[in-house]
Amino acid sequence: MASHAHSSHDHGHGEPHPLVGHLVPYSTLFATGAALIVLTIITVAARYVDLGEANIYLAIGIAVVKATLVSLFFMHLRWDRPFNLMVLVGSMLFVVLMMVFCMMDVGQNMPTENKGNPAKVQQYLDANAPFAPVTAKK
């Protein structure tokens, strides 16, 4: 699995050494840099207009765009072996996996933490036992 991506790519990649890396034109590099700076300014500016919840999503969105720019152009991923891209994206997938599972559990558990009102906690525990409605019918 891992191999296929890069080794198949390997084929078209027949230049004699040492032309392993890809030469990125200065124009591209500076354009990327400029774009990153501009995005930074935008995201800072956006902080001062109150969009409520939207603020954070906007900020994250911009961050993702910036990250993509850096990895594609500064880190040559656009021209590099797909396998290296797979390594990066794959590792991020595992982070997402960890986050999803942990968040699910935390979300389920929060009401049982006794910083809350134990009476409420009790109601929750009685109501939210798995599939309570079904048993409630009996």
């Binding site: 699995m1 891992a2 191999s3 890069h6 396998f83 794959g90 590792s91 595992f94 996996l97 960890m98 599972f101 942990c102 699910m104 559990d105 935390v106 389920q108 558990n109 049982t112 933490e113 910083k115 036992a129 798995p130």
Partner: protein, 564 residues
């Protein structure tokens, strides 16, 4: 096969890697994967001895249900914690990949060395540093948290040596990461012409899958213990409820690494068994692709099931159900492997060498270990069995009965290659038998203990359990004797063993085609690769007292898909 390379570095090669250069520094600063592998091996076996002594101490205490004068509860806790921590972090995790893997991986692959020899040496010294931290923590008051370091006990109440050992674990983690990283790159980039992914011996597949886990999971362990150190020092309120933290969150973080770690331990063992079974029954491994892909499948599933260590931890019901369901998915690839090994024996020509004895012992013990995992994965029964001796027995069957037995099996399998000496088959079988019997007496009893409700990590226990503990301790001593014998004849073979032929068992993979012990650079010329499980071209040679592989026939057979 022995036309030497003409590069200057090779002119002073007097034969093999052991005699390549001499003196302490030639070992301490070596970049040769074989020597690094040997150093790992020695280090790991020494720690194994220490951990084993701890285990015997614990077992001996458990002969008596109550207090004993010679071991307080505190000392007992420190003893079993030390046993667990040493066996997990210093022995089993590095044993196969770092010790045996380092030695045979590049040779099996047909490479001259691993991709990053310096990194390889560095990770060995990281291991040493980690071990030193662990030792220091003993001087600093020891640590009594159990190897799982659960908060808030570890962040507030545990003994003074906790922070040093956490730092040690952090360092060991990076040692393991770098080893894995090295292997991934080696397997990707250093394969000689003709060594395609499906020509690779299954041991390499297993080590590759292991390396993936090491790279992806171990950093999380690093950050977790780092956070725990910070929590303990500054009480920042992330894991410690006294400042609003959440202990269950720690368990999530810990098991996100430590469950995949279980497969870091067992996968390479499975790889070794695939080698041993195929080579010693001189017959093409059955279902190569199923075994190969089951390794990768296990590696990936292993990331999805960590919550099954937390069914009673206060984890939400939803997650319990989810994790339990996914857990069963890991059972399948493991079962597939076992069935394939059995099918490999079918119509083989099985020579019962010591290595093969260990191989069969593995199948026996791993089957028990795997099957007893089912009641633990089932939600309702796990509630009863969780944190009892049933769990202890289960993971000893998998960790020791499987991973470690496989490691020792592999040690016997490759011992002639590594040392150039043959060991005594007779004593080898005696040792194997003692270990096998002792192991079952020790741990099968603990299944009963557990299902009868004896909780783990207990210093004192109800008298009704005493008989089981007596049997279990007895078995432990039998096992100890077995390992003692093994150690003795292996060391003895170093001096008195007869010289090993290049290919004593009749293997067809590349490591059997270079001399034993191998030359400094493994292969004078880039080797040519056939089907490493095709034994049609292997034949016994009286003169060498070993097997020889007719390379031309071997390659030809591979090209015409013969011998399948």
């Amino acid at each position: 096969m022995t036309t030497l390379d003409t590069r200057p570095i090779h002119e002073e090669v007097p034969g093999n890697y052991l005699t390549f250069r001499r003196g302490f520094l030639s070992w301490a600063l070596t970049l040769d994967h074989k020597r690094i592998g040997m150093m790992y091996l020695v280090a790991v076996l020494v720690s194994f001895f220490v951990g084993g002594v701890m285990a015997l101490l614990v077992r001996t205490k458990l002969l008596f249900p109550g207090e004993v004068t010679w071991m307080t509860a505190d000392q007992y806790n420190k003893a079993f914690t030390l046993h667990g921590a040493i066996m997990v972090f210093l022995v089993i995790i590095p044993s196969i990949p770092a010790a045996l893997g380092n030695f045979v991986l590049p040779i099996m692959l047909g490479a001259k060395d691993v991709a990053f020899p310096r990194l390889n040496l560095f990770s060995f010294y990281l291991w040493i540093m980690g071990a030193i931290c662990a030792v220091y923590s003993l001087l600093a008051g020891g640590f009594d948290t159990g190897w799982t370091f659960y908060t808030p006990y570890s962040s507030q109440f545990s003994a003074g040596g906790t922070i040093p050992v956490l730092i040690g674990v952090f360092i060991l983690g990076f040692s393991s990461i770098f080893t894995g990283l090295n292997f991934v790159v080696t397997i990707h980039k250093l394969r000689p012409p003709g060594m395609t992914w499906f020509r690779m011996p299954l041991f390499l597949w297993a080590v590759y899958a292991t390396a993936l886990i090491q790279i992806l999971a171990t950093p999380v362990l690093g950050i977790t213990v780092a956070l725990l150190v910070v929590e303990r020092s500054f009480n920042i309120g992330i894991f410690d409820p006294s400042m609003g933290g959440d202990p269950v969150l720690f368990q999530h973080f810990f098991w996100f690494y430590s469950h995949p770690a279980v497969y870091i331990m067992i996968l390479p063992g499975m790889g070794i068994i695939s080698e041993i079974i195929a080579v010693h029954s001189h017959r093409h491994i059955f279902g190569f692709r199923f075994i190969a892909f089951s390794s990768i499948a296990i590696a990936i599933f292993s990331f999805l099931v960590w919550g099954h260590h937390m069914f009673t931890s206060g984890q939400s019901g939803l997650m319990n159900v989810l994790f339990s369901a996914i857990t069963f998915s890991v059972a399948i690839p493991s079962a597939v492997k076992v069935f394939n090994w059995i099918a490999t024996l079918y119509k083989g020509s099985i020579s019962l060498n010591t290595a093969m004895w260990y191989g069969l012992a593995f199948i026996f013990l791993f089957t028990i270990g795997g099957l007893t995992g089912i009641p633990l994965a089932v939600l309702s029964t796990d509630i009863h069995l969780h944190d009892t001796y049933y769990v202890v027995a289960h993971f000893h069957y998998v960790m020791m009965g499987s991973a470690l037995i496989a490691m020792i099996g592999g040690l016997h399998h490759w011992w002639p290659k590594m040392t150039g000496r043959m060991f005594s088959e007779f004593w080898g079988k005696i040792g194997c038998a003692l270990v096998f019997v002792g192991f079952n007496v020790t741990f099968f009893t603990q299944f009963m203990l557990g299902s009868q409700g004896m909780p783990r990590r207990y210093y004192a226990y109800q008298p009704e359990f005493q008989i089981y503990h007596h049997i279990s301790t007895g078995g432990a001593y039998i096992m100890g004797l077995g390992f003692l014998i093994t150690a003795i004849y292996l060391i003895h073979s170093l001096y008195a063993g007869k010289r090993a032929p290049a290919n004593p068992w009749g293997g067809a993979s590349l490591e059997w085609q270079c001399t034993s012990p191998p030359p400094h650079d493994n292969f004078a010329t880039t080797p040519r690769v056939g089907d490493c499980y095709d034994f049609s071209a292997v034949s016994w040679d009286e003169k060498q007292q070993g097997y020889v592989v007719d390379t031309e026939a071997h390659i030809a057979a591979a090209q015409h898909g013969k011998g399948h």
